[in-house]
Point group: C2
Chain length 322, copies 2
């Protein structure tokens, strides 16, 4: 198995696979399993809880993990970045907001700066900021994102990088859950991929059994992009971002009735947080992308990483003689 | 150049590329150019104008073209299908509606039945109907479509076909405008691709110069899925379908104000149709997908087909030694 790319060379990885820093789901255990298998595992810094972060950082080996943050949230509590940098991450991943104020601290600490973008315009800004890796995230992704699709955003950003900053690396995110998606991303000009939903459905993810069961029962038609869970949780997401989740009783009740939800948000927030704590996939949300239809079991993350690479190689070999 | 797949074998093509049957834009000249280059060119039957169809059919060679229809529209004037079948098309392409009532007439005439789907559920129905080729169309496509993305829909439909009907062929549509997209589609399990926007931007498409200029000036961030042009044109599109077009003065004015538009639709329809006839890209709409950001010139369709194939081969060769 030797899918070598500029990403594997530059970050000293065996495989061009990075695990998405999924808030709550991606802790130290998942990050370690992905890194041990030869990819780069990212802890999901999420909305920023110092005690949780310390605990997860205790589960990883310095230099063999990265950490992702929700940029707009991190800008409100920048000390969390220092907390993580002290553990010598290989990379810091920033998405959803302007990374500019954080760039020098990341680079001065010797970590690679990975910035995730959802539009061509934001990719231009990421290059202006000096990102080492740009992740082009399509709307098929689970959790937060925007409207553009991976299939067009990746080659368009690849062309931008070729014109403006050829040394910058590019990864594809959104909709990639198996070796076919990995091989497709490489064809589009990516140096590697970010994998979210498929690793969410792994043995090492911090995800409860009822959430996993809901995902296994779903197909790719069963997701929706919405803001209702952010309104209910009273999170200050900028309005350009929505989150993809499984359709359920909660989205059926509130999607399209956002103003009514805002009016009762205090009460709903309590109910939502309780359902979330209970791992209830109807009263809270299962954060997965359209690739949920490609998920057929909850297995160890290392097996997933290795399986993706061998499947991608098999796909590529079918056309090796053209 | 030899990207041979089950599609090229079954339909006797040189290249696994089918041109999208874009209403208005895809006439006999474009279909002929694509077929002459070794792909399969489709005439866009659109909303069904017998005189226009006869004229376009006069420009193609029997057995070397196909014709596409908007299924719900064709069901209202089924005689148009006989008109086309009399010219011995290689294939009939049906999208947006239930193809079941039309299947036997297509097959009895010896044409291949290509059905385009936007969801896994519709793909299941297409297999029930006995489609020879299923086209999985993602939301990144220009013109009418739905919400799912090409990158996840194609492998999910590939898995369905493998389980239920392995002899059925699969093509990918939406977001494919160059050899990178073609190679990616093959990795996802497709036997070929449908190309719309890129061939819309060809010398043989029935598209005016101001529409082409608007597309060349745009990038992939500049499109929107909306229903305002269908409301203005008073077309009876089922509500599940929206159309992707370039953002312009028209969408800025009406998107989000659909009820107000319906109230003045008669007047707006006249204005819209005049702007459309004038080729005005602000008063009417430029129907292109997110791949508009990958389009850099208006060139002959044959060059585009051949260029896509050689670029795809180059992409595949980069990883031929894994």
């Amino acid at each position: 198995m030797a899918l070598s790319t500029r990403l594997t060379e530059r970050l000293s990885l065996s495989h061009p696979i990075i695990s998405a820093p999924m808030a709550f789901a991606a802790g130290g255990r998942l990050a370690s399993a992905v890194s041990a298998a030869g990819g780069l595992g990212l802890i999901g810094g999420g909305y920023g809880d110092a005690a949780w972060l310390e605990e997860q950082l205790g589960l990883v080996e310095a230099g063999q993990f990265g950490c992702g943050f929700i940029t707009w949230s991190l800008l409100r509590q920048p000390a969390l970045l220092d907390l993580v940098l002290a553990h010598r991450p290989k990379a810091i991943f920033l998405s959803f907001g302007d990374p500019a104020p954080l760039v020098s601290r990341v680079k001065d600490a010797g970590a690679a700066l990975i910035t995730q973008v959802q539009t061509l315009r934001d990719a231009e800004h990421a290059l202006d900021c000096g990102a080492d890796v740009v992740v082009a995230q399509g709307s098929e992704a689970g959790g937060h994102g925007e409207k553009r699709a991976t299939l067009t955003l990746v080659p368009e950003v690849a062309d931008l990088i070729a014109r403006r900053s050829p040394q910058t690396l590019l990864c594809a995110a959104g909709g990639i859950a198996d070796g076919r998606g990995l091989a497709a991303a490489l064809m589009l000009g990516a140096d590697g991929v970010l994998v979210g939903s498929r690793l969410w459905a792994s043995a090492e993810a911090n995800v409860g059994p009822r959430m996993h069961a809901a995902a296994l029962a779903a197909n790719g038609d069963d997701t929706i992009r919405t803001q209702v869970m952010d309104l209910a949780r009273r999170l200050d997401w900028p309005s350009r971002y929505t989150a993809r989740v499984l359709n359920n009783a909660y989205t059926a009740r509130w999607h399209g009735r956002e103003q009514e939800l805002i009016a009762v948000a205090e009460e709903e927030a309590q109910k939502y947080r309780k359902a979330w704590a209970d791992g209830d996939p109807e009263g809270s949300n299962t954060f997965v992308g359209e690739a949920v239809g490609l998920i057929d079991g909850i297995v160890p993350a290392g097996d997933l990483v290795r399986g993706m690479v061998s499947e991608a190689e098999a796909c590529l070999k079918r056309f090796a003689s053209v």
